[in-house]
Amino acid sequence: MAYKPHNNLGSAYEIRVKDHLEKHWSSYFKGCSIENLDNGEVRLTTPNIDQAGLHGVLNKIRDLNLTLLSVRRTQN
């Protein structure tokens, strides 16, 4: 009940990792969309999140031993 979303919505990020992921991981990645690319990489697109949220996603990538290739902010 006490939870209030912050006004600043943060931004979306595009994260690339190696190896294709099943769609069901998007719930593990807190609502990220998962797109498997032809070059064998995966593009994870986060919803608008703040820095702490981004670190949360990166930690989850680490915890699955996925190989992180790049992180890029897409828009505000």
Binding site: M1, A2, Y3, D19, H20, L21, E22, K23, H24, W25, S27, Y28, N36, G40, V42, N59, R62, D63, L64, N65, L66
Partner: protein, 1208 residues
């Protein structure tokens, strides 16, 4: 006493026939002192003239001497000084009493007894008298800047008297310790420290006395205080001897000798060994029987033992834990003379709380026979949790004494993100004894100073490259452990695809077991771009019987598993839920024999890890659990809530409240959650665990809350206790609405509401709603309304239970307190406690407020007694983390502040704040911070004070807190502004108060306690303002307000405020030269203040009261002489500290301190240069700076000034 009396020890006082005489000049007083102390030897005029007037020519110096001698004789009688042309002396036949003679006489008589160790009763009495005579340093405040020779003489005398005093104190302390009179011994030791707080011997004696009295926590606290002071003042660590002694206390050698320990050391009663620790976190993982030995890595680890830290840093699933298990296994087998002590600590996200981290850390180290375990735990609880270095130092010292090698493993360190903990670990590493080694296993590099450690050769690392399985490892793993028969080529393919990732290889092995087309599998796998886990999990699961697949997926919702729990959860049909049609169910119920056991799964290599030696509790490997959960979610999402429901039922059946509520919340089974929370709230709040309850409620929808009138009331009660009373109305409205609806409709008509309340529960709800509304009315400044509401309830609900009656009288007591009827308030609160006893509930708040009202009456001693008793009750209950102790603690902080016991006040405020972690009441956080702000201000820590006050301000902003808290924060701001001399803000504040006051005078209303606090502060502001601008006409306004406040306070019986009001009246009268009236008021003030030992009220208003009390003491037949002297003594102590801060605007560097020390030893520049290995030029430069900073013209003066500032 007839004749002349001279008091030289302290600010000089000279009396003639009991009247205080002020000599014309300071020099005359100095001259008299010099003559008196030199008596009976005569002194030549020549010497005296050159000594006191060195800057004059002989003729003028002689003239000055004559004039001074004449003025002395004029004031003190013509016979006191006798002089001829050459010599001057004090007349030996005069009645001339001097404190210094008495001082020496007493000491001589003690010396004559020639006691070897402890002294006799007569000597104790004489020593006590000696100590009493010493009011302060010799001729305090009587420095003659123009007479260095006198200054030097005075300095030597001062040192010699102080030395005698210190040795008297020391003898007394030893005597009291010998007799087991701890309190007296401690008092003397504290006295000594307060006079000479950088003195190692004094500090050590105090610490030692505490330790011998059995007050270990006080001893350790004093040590920390000393360390802090040394650090702050001199930037130095404690001396070797104190350190050595400190270690002795830790080792438990410094035990008490005889007598009873003092009861005030309450914390030592806590038995920490009963802490409900999760043993699993400290469980050393066992080595699975099927593992690949890694001799190279073991060798590397063994080499790593030469260094303090081994870091194993690699992503999940690289076998970090398994490697450690293998290593520990081998360490335990080696035939060392003494076995290794292996201490394991698996971290999780909850360990980011430093207090919890330290608690678990020390518990992990219990494997080593730590002598100080309980002690350290106590320090962790009681001390400031922001500085974990104290308990860590204790740990280190304890570990150092072990004759055994210790290995401390911190597994899953990646969960730690709190910098305080990283700092603590860095501190540990930097001070680690040789016999202790730390291993950190983590998925990402910790923010410790790794490069520094590397450069110093203090770090050994095992990283992902080391951990990857080589083709040899893989061959062994797959062919020998899993019994496969793979070719070298196939192994290489797997190695390339998995990059030696152990978890991947294990899944591959499970997938390949029993498979015929292994080459095809390997080809397909190595050609795939899918995430290894996705690919292999599917394969591995598909290789398992359906039964096991189902088991794994469905039990993945559990954080920890055991067979009974898993069986229960899997039995989803029992709940009579429609089973998911997609999911394959076995046709026949599984018989006992066929049931899957966790141990079997462990054997299959299915990532299941035992959590204890008995193999009862297990958990899935994090990686595997994540994988299973996402699969469960995506395939059988409908089943998830049902599984959680089953888990909740199992935990409920086994009495695990948190397990059941967590799963119930996850199941979104609101009905059960509501029932469970309602059941456990009273227990959790009684145990002080508000934070846990708040966490539950955050996940519980309000809509659902509104369905249960019982829960509404309970939550409203919790909000009231947590300073969120402004949120209770909707809850109470809803509860009453539901109950009355139910009552009017009758049970049969409304089944949809599902209230299912018993008659008794309805009574509770009907009682509690008006009680809580009454409480809110009190907080909103409407005490009469509170009385009315509760009175109606009292009459309207004759069947009210004792617990609610207790609370009702508590609210009424509070209302009467606000109405200014303290007698009645005390009666009602006492009645409340009687009903509380009857009800069997603790109802801590009632006791706390009883203590509080007792404080308001002005009886500090009983108030402290009530509150400390209330805390004590709790220690007996042996409940941990009791957050609701914080309320008692915050008020105790005030009481000790009032007595100027700043250390105790500080500890209580800090403890209160530490406890609010489990009891986040805005009222308490604000109160404790305001108290801290006042304490820091009294300690001249302006920054710290402002910081604490800002925190208090944040807490109260936009909240309806108790009126007391609001007033308290307001007046603390004024205190801060007064210190700042921020007249602009003070004027604004003054203006607001005056308008409030004006509105009150029209209606001639009673002034309540809360406005009274502000108005008294207003008078203080006026007094201090008048000291500045000298507009004495303001005193009239002061006086009339004070008169009104006095009548008002007397009518209410508020001794606590009356004593301040009378003091201020006395000050105003004194300023107006109406002395005898002033002293009469002061006697009135003392009459209340003395039994309560009030101190701060005098100190806070500063010089105004000091001057008053000094003059008061000069009258004949002073009634409260002893107390008045005590107050002046406190003034002196606090001014000494202040003086040091003010006189030394620039602190000396540690190098300058070294040099200062050598100056004291009388070293020449050359000697200093040799000893410090510096050039003479550098020494000169430093000495020059020291003289500048100490505002001294010569080295001797620098030493004198430094001593005066307690720098050396």
């Amino acid at each position: 006493m007839e004749g002349i009396e001279a008091y030289w020890l302290g600010i000089p006082i000279i009396k003639r026939d009991n009247y205080v005489i002020n000599l014309e000049t300071r020099k005359a007083a100095a001259l008299l002192a010099y003559l008196a102390l030199s008596s009976p030897s005569p002194l030549t005029r020549e010497n005296l003239a050159t000594m006191f007037w060195p800057e004059y020519d002989q003729q003028h110096a002689y003239a000055n001497l004559r004039r001074s001698l004449y003025s002395i004789n004029r004031e003190l009688g013509p016979d006191l000084i006798i002089a001829n042309r050459e010599d001057v002396m004090v007349n030996p036949s005069c009645l001339f009493w001097q404190d210094v003679n008495e001082f020496h006489l007493l000491l001589t008589s003690v010396k004559a007894h020639n006691h070897e160790s402890s002294v006799c009763a007569e000597c104790i009495e004489n020593l006590e008298k000696t100590v009493d005579l010493y009011r302060g340093s010799f001729l305090e405040g009587l420095n003659l800047r123009d007479s260095p020779e006198f200054d030097q003489w005075q300095y030597l005398q001062r040192e010699s008297f102080f030395h005698d005093l210190a040795s008297s104190l020391e003898q007394l302390i030893h005597a009291y310790v010998f007799l087991g009179e701890w309190e007296k011994g401690i008092k003397k030791a504290r006295h000594w420290v307060s006079l000479d707080y950088l003195n190692e011997n004094a500090q050590r004696t105090l610490i030692e006395t505490y330790a011998q009295a059995g007050q270990r926590s006080a001893a350790l606290h004093q040590f920390n205080e000393y360390t802090r002071v040394l650090k702050d003042e001199l930037d130095q660590p404690p001396d070797g001897e104190v350190m050595a002694f400190y270690q002795e206390i830790q080792a438990g050698n410094a035990r008490k000798r005889k007598g009873k320990p003092v009861a005030s050391d309450t914390t030592s009663h806590i038995n920490f060994s009963k802490q409900p620790l999760i043993k699993m976190k400290l469980f050393i993982p066992r080595l699975h029987k099927d593992y690949v030995p890694r001799p190279l890595l073991l060798e590397k680890l063994a080499q790593g033992l030469k260094k303090p830290l081994i870091l194993i840093s690699a992503p999940a699933g690289y076998g970090k834990t398994t490697l450690l298990a293998e290593w520990i296994n081998s360490l335990q087998k080696t035939s060392a003379p003494k076995p290794w002590a292996i201490c394991w600590f698996s971290l999780d996200a909850g360990d980011n709380d430093p207090m919890r981290f330290l608690t678990y850390l020390t518990a992990a180290l219990e494997k080593v026979d730590l002598k100080l375990h309980a002690e350290i735990q106590e320090v962790i609880r009681s001390s400031d949790s922001i500085y974990p270095n104290t308990p860590l130092t204790m740990l280190l010292n304890d570990l150092q004494d072990q004759d055994q090698s210790v290995l401390l493993v911190l597994d899953d360190y990646q969960f730690i993100n709190n910098p305080t903990i990283h700092d603590g670990i860095t501190f540990l590493l930097e001070h680690l004894p040789d016999n202790v080694h730390i291993v950190i296993a983590t998925r990402s590099d910790p923010p410790l100073p790794l490069s520094r450690l590397r450069a110093r050769g203090q770090l050994s690392e095992i990283r992902v490259e080391d951990l990857r399985f080589t083709s040899v490892d893989i061959t062994m793993f797959l062919n020998q452990v899993f019994g496969l028969d793979l070719s070298q080529e196939q192994v290489t393919k797997l190695e390339n695809r998995t990059e030696g990732w152990v978890a991947g290889l294990q899944l591959a092995a499970v997938s390949m077991q029993g498979r015929r087309d292994i080459p095809k599998f390997i080809d397909a796998f190595s050609g795939s771009h899918r995430f290894i886990m996705d690919y292999l999990a599917e394969e591995a699961l598909s290789q398992q019987p359906l039964e096991i697949q189902r088991y794994l997926l469905q039990t993945s919702i559990l954080e920890r598993l055991n067979d009974s729990l898993c069986d229960f959860v899997l039995d989803v049909k029992a709940k009579n839920h429609v089973s998911d049609p997609q999911f394959p169910q076995e046709s026949s119920p599984t018989s006992e024999k066929n049931k899957i056991r966790l141990a079997t799964l462990e054997d299959l290599g299915l990532f299941i890890i035992p959590q204890d030696d008995e193999r009862i509790w297990y958990r899935y490997h994090h990686l595997f659990a994540d994988l299973l959960r996402t699969r469960l979610q995506s395939t059988f999402s409908g089943l998830v809530p049902i599984l959680h429901q089953r888990a909740a039922m199992w935990f409920e059946k086994h009495g695990d409240a948190e397990g059941s509520i967590d799963h119930s919340l996850a199941a979104e089974d609101w009905e059960s959650t509501s029932r469970l929370i309602a059941r456990y709230i009273p227990e959790y709040l009684e145990k002080g665990q508000m934070t846990t309850v708040i966490k539950w409620l955050e996940q519980f929808p309000q809509k659902e809350l509104f369905k249960s009138p019982k829960l509404c009331i309970q939550v409203a009660e919790m909000y009231s206790q947590g300073g969120m009373i402004d949120q209770i109305d909707p809850l109470l409205d809803k509860a009453e609405e539901l109950v009355s609806f139910k009552k009017s409709q009758g049970e049969s008509q409304d089944k949809s509401l599902e209230t299912k309340l018993s008659a008794d529960e309805i009574t509770v709800i009907r009682s509690m709603a008006p009680i809580l509304r009454g409480l809110k009315a009190v907080c909103s400044g409407q005490p009469q309304l509170a009385m009315d509401i509760t009175q109606v309830a009292l009459q309207g609900i004759p069947e009210m239970n004792p617990k609610e009656l207790a609370l009702l009288f508590w609210v009424q007591g509070w209302a009467q307190r606000s109405l200014g009827n303290l007698d009645l308030a005390l009666k009602l609160l006492t009645k409340g406690t009687e009903y509380a006893n009857q009800s069997g509930a603790i109802l801590r708040d009632i006791w706390t407020d009883l203590g509080n009202v007792t404080r308001l009456v002005g009886k500090l001693t009983p108030a402290i007694h009530i509150l400390e008793n209330s805390l004590q009750t709790n220690f007996d209950e042996d409940i941990q983390n009791q957050g609701n102790l914080s309320r008692d603690e915050s008020f105790l902080s005030f009481l000790y502040y009032e007595r100027n016991k700043l250390d105790q006040a500080f500890i209580y405020a800090k403890r209160a704040l530490a406890h609010t972690q489990w009891w986040p009441s805005h009222n308490i956080i604000a109160t404790a911070n305001a108290s801290l702000a006042q304490i820091m201000l009294a300690r001249n820590d302006f920054k710290g004070s402002l910081y604490a006050l800002q925190k208090a301000e944040e807490e109260r902003k936009n909240r309806l807190l108790t009126p007391f808290v609001h007033s308290l924060i307001d007046i603390t701001w004024v205190q801060v502004w007064l210190k700042q001399k921020n007249w602009k803000l003070l004027d604004q504040w003054e203006y607001t108060q005056i308008s409030t006051l004006e509105s009150k005078s029209i209606s001639n209303e009673k002034i309540d306690e809360y406005l009274e606090l502000r108005l008294i502060m207003l008078v203080r502001l006026w007094i201090e303002k008048t000291n500045q601008d000298k507009k004495k006409e303001r005193y009239e306004t002061c006086f009339s307000l004070l008169e009104r406040l006095e009548t008002n306070s007397r009518n209410s019986g508020r001794g606590n405020s009356l004593t301040v009001i009378l003091l201020y009246k006395a000050i105003v009268l004194f300023h107006e030269e109406r002395r005898s009236e002033a002293f009469k008021e002061l006697d009135g003030c003392f009459a209340i203040a003395e039994p309560g030992d009030y101190m701060r009220i005098f100190l806070d208003i500063g010089e105004s009261s000091q001057g008053l009390i000094c003059s008061y003491l000069q009258q004949p037949d002073v009634i409260h002489k002893k107390y008045a002297l005590e107050i002046l003594n406190e003034f002196r102590n606090s001014q000494l500290v202040e003086k040091q801060k003010e006189a030394l605007p620039e602190t000396l560097t540690s190098r300058e301190m070294d040099i200062l020390q050598l100056l004291v030893e009388g070293c020449s520049n050359r000697e200093m240069a040799e000893r410090l290995i510096l050039s003479e030029g550098t020494i000169k430069f430093h000495v020059h700076n020291i003289l500048g900073k100490l505002n001294a013209a010569s080295r001797t003066q620098a030493i004198a000034n430094a001593r005066e500032l307690n720098l050396i």
